[in-house]
Subunit: 295 residues, 2 copies
Amino acid sequence: MDSYIKGYFCEKDIADDCDKIISAVKCDKLIHAEKTKYQDLVVFESDVLGRCLALDGAMQLTEKDEFSYQEMISFLPLNSHPNPKKVLIVGGGDGGVIRECLKHPSVESITLCEIDERVVEVSKKYLPFMASSFNDPKVKVLIGDGYAYIRENKDAFDVIITDSSDPKGPAVSLFQKEYYQSLKECLRSGGIIACQAETIWFHLHLIKFLYATASELFASVAYALTLVPTYPSGQIGFLLACKDKKINFGEPIHKLTDEQVAEMKLKYYSTEIHRASFVLPNFVRNELKTETQSK
Amino acid sequence: MDSYIKGYFCEKDIADDCDKIISAVKCDKLIHAEKTKYQDLVVFESDVLGRCLALDGAMQLTEKDEFSYQEMISFLPLNSHPNPKKVLIVGGGDGGVIRECLKHPSVESITLCEIDERVVEVSKKYLPFMASSFNDPKVKVLIGDGYAYIRENKDAFDVIITDSSDPKGPAVSLFQKEYYQSLKECLRSGGIIACQAETIWFHLHLIKFLYATASELFASVAYALTLVPTYPSGQIGFLLACKDKKINFGEPIHKLTDEQVAEMKLKYYSTEIHRASFVLPNFVRNELKTETQSK
């Protein structure tokens, strides 16, 4: 099934790439479409969702709801680390994670490693609300294979955020044990990772695998939920792990006041949301065999 | 746009009933379809979602994910009340809320008032996982207008659960101020309501209206979230309110142990999930002007 049918962008919903559940968004105006070296890239305008970017037929972001993903994948690890100075972002070529990480007062440098230069260029041109911070002096953008970059850099970062697409196409290697091993080695002592880790509703088997894999390698592991209505199932999650310290991810070290939340223009993340995001439904908790997350 | 296109059940996603976002579920086997006195009723089988029931083109439940809705709309109010003996369910003809309420040890009687007898009959026949408890001696089923029943009964129930469909068709009157006034009068002292209250992503204006309306009438009001991947946006919420007591809905009076959760076969609800469900993203909290929900 093609991604475009009669003016609708159509996305298959299930992990196995079958066509049992499909979500369709009216494409009110096509802004840009190209086949890059790595993937099909489309930007379109939806009357109800604003600007939307899709890669290989999967919605990556919409103007209406991107904040819940960008804020959570950034602030969950940053606020779990006592002093996150050096941040690496793997993927994230739209610039949204950079935008959020720059809000954190401890962050001194952000390196972004995006394999597809066209995602960065197209985002700069058509998604200014995402790609607003590429020129910030703290930001360094590398075009290349993030996995290779991680292997070449040891003990280098306090926080590594893997802002990847789904485990197919260019992102498939980012959901394997070797990648997590390399992430660990790329972290400084006390370092934390946050990786895009799919939905509890249709990818629980994958989440279980990632959780178990990370648990073999890292001192602390947790899975957190956020809501993104334009992703399949309306929910996506993040795998967080700390290299060498036992930490309780459910209780952030940096607690933002309501004033800070307002100053930082956070529409989703708060200290309370941070805590709540690690509380998992029983059917997930039982699969991951996590202990009761809060008292 | 019709609900069935080329073997797919298609649902429009947005409050305004436009066709900008559509979700489509492959209808692998049509089990039953009829036009009842009140609405179009369809039961079909999906390979990935199991048995599904739709009313007037809107998905009401699927076998895969119904538990998160049924458990939450039942246990959030029941565990917020010190002694919920008498329960009224408005709507809920599929029987799922009865099934959950019967698990609570304090509950002595459950009255269900469903306007459409065919929903009850069809659920008994085709959805045995939902309609398992209609014959329980604690349960009384009335076929009729729930709103009329509420107006006729004062100071009668400890908990009233409005398990309604969306605010169109037979359910439209259940989203109006007069209905909330009648709910209040139908409650006994200390009584609590829980009403289906749509999604934060596309119906925030309605939620704001319901929240403000209930705040004028009730002593305590709160909105809670749950995840239902087969509902539009993947999230739905509940409006809870207590007739005449200041209570903190975010902290349940009855705290279930892990053993109780296992005994009751709860796949979603736990004490931790209860607390977390009242923690709202900033953009919702700001609209509802609620205070910080947890400390």
